[in-house]
Symmetry: C2
Subunit: 331 residues, 2 copies
Amino acid sequence: MSGKPTLRTISAASGFAVTTVSRALSGDEKIAESTRREVSRIAELLGYVPDRAAQRLRTGRTNVIALVLSPHEEIIGFRGSMIAGLQQAFSGTSYHIVMAPYDGDADPMVPVQHILRHGLADGIVFSGTRPDDPRISFLNDAGFPFVSHGRTDSPQVHAWCDYDNDSFARLAVTRLVARGRKSLLLIPPQPDRTYARHMREGFFAAVAATGAEGRIDGALTLATKPALLQEGAAGLVERHGIDGLICPGEVSAMAVLAGLHDRGVRIGTDVDVIAKQTSETFGLYRPRIDTIYEDIRAAGEAMGHLLLRRIAGEPPEGLTALLAPTVNFRQ
Amino acid sequence: MSGKPTLRTISAASGFAVTTVSRALSGDEKIAESTRREVSRIAELLGYVPDRAAQRLRTGRTNVIALVLSPHEEIIGFRGSMIAGLQQAFSGTSYHIVMAPYDGDADPMVPVQHILRHGLADGIVFSGTRPDDPRISFLNDAGFPFVSHGRTDSPQVHAWCDYDNDSFARLAVTRLVARGRKSLLLIPPQPDRTYARHMREGFFAAVAATGAEGRIDGALTLATKPALLQEGAAGLVERHGIDGLICPGEVSAMAVLAGLHDRGVRIGTDVDVIAKQTSETFGLYRPRIDTIYEDIRAAGEAMGHLLLRRIAGEPPEGLTALLAPTVNFRQ
DNA sequence: CGGTGATATTGTAACGTTGCAAATGCCGCA
DNA sequence: TGCGGCATTTGCAACGTTACAATATCACCG
């Protein structure tokens, strides 16, 4: 009589068979309304909670979503915001989020294979998508529900959510040009990611359209080494007369701004810097700069909803979300 | 023949009983070395992976650790760093981290009760510990392994990991006084958390010891409303002649620095600001300020190890870690 | 040569759930 | 009265694992 109540406990207490109790609590199927009420009443009374392990063993469903993030993500609050958004999407469901271990250095296939191999989850959310990301076809072949943060070049249809980095770059260029800047530099985002290409394309398209001069310096690619950016960006400004810089994230922005500051370059006067903003806090940076907001939390929430639909069996066609930039410009 | 290999598959392939196979793969117990090798060989060959759901149902162990964090944590990268540290501690084990849903507003007991009720995990890591935190006695009574980030006033013995905020405040005060500052302000940390008291105590002890003047303004308590801090701190500096400020986190530091900047107060000249630093990136802030580092990732790793020992059955006595501040002062 | 004990292996049962096929009860209609 | 058919309920089996008690094997000793 001690221990947690099980279906058997409720069965004994209510007089109905275990199977009936199970079906009554599951909600659907042919069960008399009176039976359902009585069973529910007793279940509630006894504080019954279904055993996830048993359900999982029997049904094969885990009620778990695996989140695969590289710890090297440039954006500081990325993990936290993404999790918050996913949790928002899963509130009201019985899904929990498990963090798939991934050191970010190894083959990106490793964590994904690990999840499938061990049956850790019913669906996967991953980020850091590459143009030829092998995870897409692997998961598609396995028929495993997933949503990627970022797009690929692959013709394979799949659910994804992405930020419109093309528009981001266009907006940034347009703004800088409107402020009278002529010689623009895009701090290169992570080169092997698809979003980096979108950003570059938008950058050069806008540069061409506005008649400004635009460059990207490959040597500054290592956004994970802020010290390099700090030196390099400031040097370029001096040597090539750059007067407008676009930073693809807060870390690169902080590094660039630090480098300029340390050389006595006046932000907003000698040069303009415009950055992608992903946290509230960055808006407190001084001197104020123009930013364009990317809402990671919203991305997480969108991905959560898309994934739930995939798990429910919806085909991936059209299960996509392209999130628009929000400008945050000074007067 | 299709489907994942199970113990039965290996049993059939090797000729040993299912029980023998299970024990051979589990590692211990009396199994002939030759048997173990043969069974392992076949298991490897067939790509056998034990079914977590079945193990969990049979043993009651989940191989999961629940992480309970408030999304309102002031520190931006807190979630990500904590997760990274925990994952580091769990690498090589079969433990996974599940994020317990917690909106931060509700009763902190809710997520903890949820975890126990649904048997979601073998252990819990939680943060935001209060002096009379009800989770401590609840989990102790339930005999459930846990580690808290932060201490309590309760005499109950439990595993915890904390940052030495007393030392943090003393170091900060000492540094400011050494730079000639006389009238110090501590931006108040979250008032209902134990760490806030430690920080206050260290602050006033050091202020008394150095003969400086120290104050905390309760009106600035709402660290989650950076706008308030921005206005309030700058106002206090002007009205009360504050010349040294201590910020308990990066967000409050950014707010305070923004407020001072906007009023034309010169950082490092008119006033000195010293802040707790929790991310690499913050070191790029300009003008440079003195910071004292708190390593959240290290805290996560320490908590992971402590929790594993608790789960292994070690009594909580002495399972504690007080992490020391690291100063990062300008020359 | 029978008995003892150590060592290694085995069979059975159970964890709590759900899918399936079968059974029960009941009503109306022939 | 008997029977088909519907609505509801039931029992059995199984998911894959491990705990437990029991058995088989063998060497050794009296």
